[in-house]
């Protein structure tokens, strides 16, 4: 009997603390699978800023630095400058990357910093109980948009991949989703492209992964995947937005 599927070594053999059906669990595993396949676990240093995944250091077997909200790209820059031959990636949510940390994200890209960013976009602030995120959709009801997000009051959701693709320092930008098996396979391929972009010293890479938040969307996990397909994918078209590898 050959093993077809098992937990990748870089993923700790512990139960994660995410909600039932939360796609963080899938993405953590995909990242760990790629790190294992590339044989870089011993050289990997992760950066986990504030958000549901701030506790990611409990779920990976490699070194991790916990970062202040929004500052992961800066922390990763500091690490990468000290260890240019190590593999450094951040794992950030939409509030972290596209609200408080927008400047750090844009400038890490502008510098062409040779780091990789896994950007989990679930259009909501999960850790704090479901507030509006910079990527929340127009009309989306959240704790802080109880009447639905309104353009005249909260403006427009930010399309990060499109925005960053205009930045010359960016080498590889792709948006993917983990809502289905085919898309999960594509997400893994995108993560691999981004990680290889760093290993080949080509510069800044980012993978935006459309994700769900069943608890704060107030939906069953499978229903949330459906909502993602019907609503988020319209606002956030999947695809490669920059590829200078």
């Amino acid at each position: 009997m050959a093993t077809v599927f098992k937990r990748p070594h870089p993923l700790s053999d512990v139960s994660n603390t995410y909600c039932p059906g939360c796609t963080h669990g899938i993405i953590h595993r995909l990242a760990a699978e790629v790190i294992e396949e590339l044989g870089i676990e011993g050289d990997t240093i992760g950066v986990a800023p504030v958000g549901c995944s701030v506790v990611a250091y409990n779920f990976f077997e490699f070194d991790v630095q916990q970062a202040a909200h929004g500052r992961a790209p800066a922390v990763a820059t500091g690490i990468k400058r000290v260890h240019p031959d190590k593999f450094v990636f951040t794992y950030q949510g939409d509030g972290d990357l596209a609200a408080i940390g927008t400047a750090e994200t844009v400038h890490a890209a502008a510098r062409g910093e040779n780091i990789s960013i896994i950007f989990v976009n679930n259009a909501i602030y999960g850790m704090t109980g479901g507030q509006m995120a910079p990527t929340s959709l127009v009309g989306q009801v959240t704790q802080t948009t109880p009447y639905g997000r309104k353009i005249e009051n909260q403006g427009y959701p930010i399309k990060v991949c499109e925005m960053l693709s205009t930045i010359e320092g960016a080498a590889y930008i792709e948006r993917v989703s983990v809502d289905s098996i085919p898309n999960i396979k594509k997400t893994k391929a995108a993560i691999r492209n981004a990680f290889e972009c760093q290993l080949d010293k080509k510069g800044f890479s980012l993978v935006e992964i459309l994700s769900t938040c069943p608890t704060n969307w107030g939906m069953e996990p499978a229903e949330a995947m459906e909502w993602l397909r019907e609503n988020m994918m319209k606002q956030y078209p999947l695809g490669v937005y920059c590829d200078k590898r």
Partner: protein, 359 residues
């Protein structure tokens, strides 16, 4: 004695940092310390180091967090408003027990303030400008030479106690030029390896984690208490101060940094008139040299604290003197410099002496 150079304070600090084995500097322009960053920009690349101008002081302190967590000697510098932006990062650095050096060439405040030298960041530096129970080592040099010596010491002590260390200077100290001699450079390879750093497990060790998040408050409390036990050791071993003419002093002026140099002028004039004046100059502001104040309170009749602020260190002096003697205050604010005459007049007023026509 080492060969002497005429050097600006800001640049001397930068050179001292590189000679201390610091190879990673993350900065942001702000008057009156920008020459420090410019010196790093010119010299780090030639010395195998990294200079990076960050997008903000917030990004810069977080780059220091990453580099320090990765095991390197790292530094940032700024001035008052920029240091305010770094406070959250400094709290994280203290909470994650990371060593680093932060230079503040303080300027007039609050708000955008002015660009002249000031000492109005004393509270921020010594009482913790960020959130939570923590401290930084705070060194307050008052000459370009002492800036150099304290920078070297800051790196060593930060590593020894695994905590952030601040060089608290001011605009004058950063801008003025004085002859300065340097110590032999230390290469990063000579520094002890930091086993706790995140430099990749290499599949040979358990993972290292740099973190200050502890959702279980019992654990956080224990860690804070352990950190404060280390702080207590520091308060015993590490206070630095200078004393001048305090044995027979009837009044002791206390001041740090540039204000202390002004106090010396006043003391010299008063001593000529037979007025027995002494000076206590704290060099470490945290740990504060409380013990010497308590001891000198036995013979001195009064203390006069001189600062370029509305009075901040004076509170620590009062705590140290503990009511045994009156502690007066004389200062300027907003970037204005205390005048020697003002100190001279204040001493006379305190001792109720007739003024003999000023200094």
């Amino acid at each position: 004695m080492a060969e002497k150079f005429l050097m600006k304070g800001n640049e001397a600090v930068a050179e001292a940092a590189i000679r201390s084995g610091c190879r990673y500097f993350f900065g942001y322009p702000i008057t009156p310390q920008t020459e420090l960053a410019a010196y790093m920009a010119k010299n780090m690349p030639k010395r195998g180091g990294v200079f990076l101008q960050a997008e903000s002081e917030i990004a810069a302190i977080n780059m220091v967090y990453g580099a320090a967590g990765a095991g390197a000697r790292a530094m940032t510098s700024s001035s008052s408003p920029g240091i305010s932006l770094k406070q959250e990062g400094i709290s994280y650095i203290a909470g994650a027990d990371l060593p680093c050096v932060i230079v503040n060439m303080a300027r007039g405040g609050p708000g955008l303030g002015s660009i002249q030298g000031s000492q109005a960041d004393y509270f921020q530096a010594t009482k913790g400008g960020g959130h939570g129970d923590y401290h930084m080592l705070v060194f307050a040099p008052n000459s370009v030479q002492e800036l150099v010596d304290m920078t070297a010491r800051a790196f060593d002590k930060a590593d020894e106690y695994r905590m952030p260390a601040m060089i608290l200077g001011d605009g004058m100290l950063g801008q003025m030029m004085e002859p300065v001699g340097f110590f032999e450079p230390k290469e990063p390879e000579e520094l002890p390896k930091k086993e706790w750093a995140t430099d990749g497990t290499g599949m040979k060790r358990k993972k290292n984690i740099i973190n200050s998040l502890y959702l279980e408050s019992e654990i956080l409390e224990r860690l804070n208490i352990e950190r404060y036990e280390r702080y207590a050791q520091i308060c015993e071993r590490e206070p630095l101060f200078e004393e001048i003419n305090t044995e027979d002093a009837e009044i002791i002026i206390t001041a740090y940094g540039m204000s202390a140099r002004i106090a010396v002028s006043a003391m010299t004039a008063l001593r000529k008139e037979g007025v027995r004046v002494g000076i206590i100059r704290p060099i470490t502001l945290w740990p504060f040299p409380s013990e010497i104040f308590a001891r000198r309170a036995a013979n001195a009749k009064a203390f006069l604290c001189v600062e370029m602020s509305m009075g901040q260190m004076v509170e620590d002096v009062r705590l140290a003197v503990d009511g045994k003697r009156p502690v007066y205050f004389c200062g300027r604010t907003g970037g204005m410099t205390v005048e020697p005459d003002a100190v001279y007049e204040e001493v006379k007023r305190i001792l109720k002496l007739k003024t003999a026509g000023g200094m």
